[in-house]
Structure formats: C-alpha cells, structure tokens
C-alpha cells in the first residue's frame, strides 16, 4: 500500500511566521500535490509537481511556495502566514497524471494561524 506521511497533524502558528509543511511518499510516485480543504469549498489545488525540482501552480497558489528536492518529498511553504490560511492541508501523490491514476492522500495537517 502507498503511504503518504505528513509530518504534523496539528500546527498553530502566528501571523507573519514562515511555515513549512512536509510530506513524504514511499511508492516512487512521479506526481505530488498539495491541496487545502475548507468547509463548503471542497479540495482546492495549491501546487503540484510532476518531477524533482519541477512545480506547477494550481488554482490558489498565492501566498504559498513549494519545494521538491527529492522524489519522495514535497514541501509546502507559507512565506508569511496569515489568518486566511487557517485550513486543513492535504498532500497527495499519484503514479502518473491525477486524471489517469488515483490520488493517494496523507491524513492532513490542520493549521491554525492566530
């Protein structure tokens, strides 16, 4: 079974802090994704990566950046956290494109920015 591990289940940060969310997958998947999940809005794609050191913007990239230095690791960075970034963050991986193979999700990081 594919395992996608997110380093923190809960995080509380202050406005203006730089925040790192880490994600590791163990199945040699090419593609990795960061989503945020908010009530009534569903999952929204922030960034994705289809290869090491490659990244593509999703639907809501503003205020975020990503890093993929190794194939198994995909990091989401909040350069200066704001209260409207309080959310559940979900990392996912897929073998190939997300519309051709299922996404495998981690259990999420619930981030609160105060």
């Amino acid at each position: 079974d594919v395992k996608v591990t997110q380093s923190s289940r809960y995080l509380v940060k202050r406005t203006g802090e730089k925040v790192f969310l880490e994600c590791v997958q163990d199945m040699d998947h090419e593609n990795m994704f960061w989503y945020r999940q908010d009530p009534g809005l569903g999952l929204r794609l922030i960034y994705f990566s289809y290869d090491v050191k490659m990244k593509e913007k999703g639907d809501i990239p503003e205020g975020y950046s990503v890093s993929r230095e190794k194939k198994e690791r995909f990091s989401l960075i909040l350069e200066s956290a704001s209260t409207n970034q309080t959310s559940m963050y979900l990392c996912a991986s897929s073998l190939i494109d997300s519309y051709n193979s299922p996404l495998h999700f981690g259990n999420g990081t619930r981030l609160t920015v105060t």
Partner: protein, 109 residues
C-alpha cells in the same frame, strides 16, 4: 472552467435504507471521474474511476454510474460503517482534478 456540484450536502439514512448521491459536472473534455471516501480526521481514500458514459463500477454496497452530465453513487442496504464524506472529482484535458464539496453521509443503526 470545470465545475463539480455534489448533492445533497448531507444525508441521513437508517441502516438498510438504500439511496443515491449525485455528482453533476461540466468539464471541457472529461478524462475521468473519481469517487473518494473521507473519514473524519483522515485523508480521502480512492473508491472508483469512471471514464465514459454508461460505465459502472461496484464495490461491496457501493455502485458508481456515469452519464455525460452526472455520476451517481448508489448505496444499497448501507451499514453504519458506511458513514463518511463522499467526494467526487473530475479530471479534464485542461487541468488537474476538480473536486466537489462532498456529501456527508450518516447511517444510523
């Protein structure tokens, strides 16, 4: 712009009471329609992929169907352990997956 709408937002059923969840979509060039299940405190878990109108997939008490405009997730004789949020997502030629906001299903014993 791809759009996915799920209904109802929430559904409460008695154990054994069959029902259906709806996912309607508008996309430019459907590549695939996905159903996921999400339990509280966990990430979504893949259930089905449907690629073309008329296709059906089954798994235990769940059956997913697809038309050109919508997909249904039929739940036959549900049990309390089927309680979860069910998410629908579509992939198109233009973009990565677009998710609906989900249907929260509660099955009462």
């Amino acid at each position: 712009e791809d759009q996915v709408t799920q209904s109802p937002e929430a559904l409460r059923l008695q154990e054994g009471e069959s029902s259906s969840l709806n996912c309607s979509y508008t996309v430019s060039g459907l590549r695939g329609l996905f159903w996921y299940r999400q339990d509280p405190g966990k990430g979504p878990e893949f259930l089905f992929t449907l690629y073309s109108a008329g296709e059906e997939k089954e798994k235990e008490r769940l059956k997913a169907t697809l038309t050109k405009k919508e997909s249904f997730l039929h739940i036959t004789a549900p049990k309390p352990e089927d309680s979860a949020t069910y998410l629908c997502a579509v992939g198109s030629s233009a973009r990565q997956l677009t998710f609906g906001s989900g249907t929260q299903l509660t099955v009462l014993p």
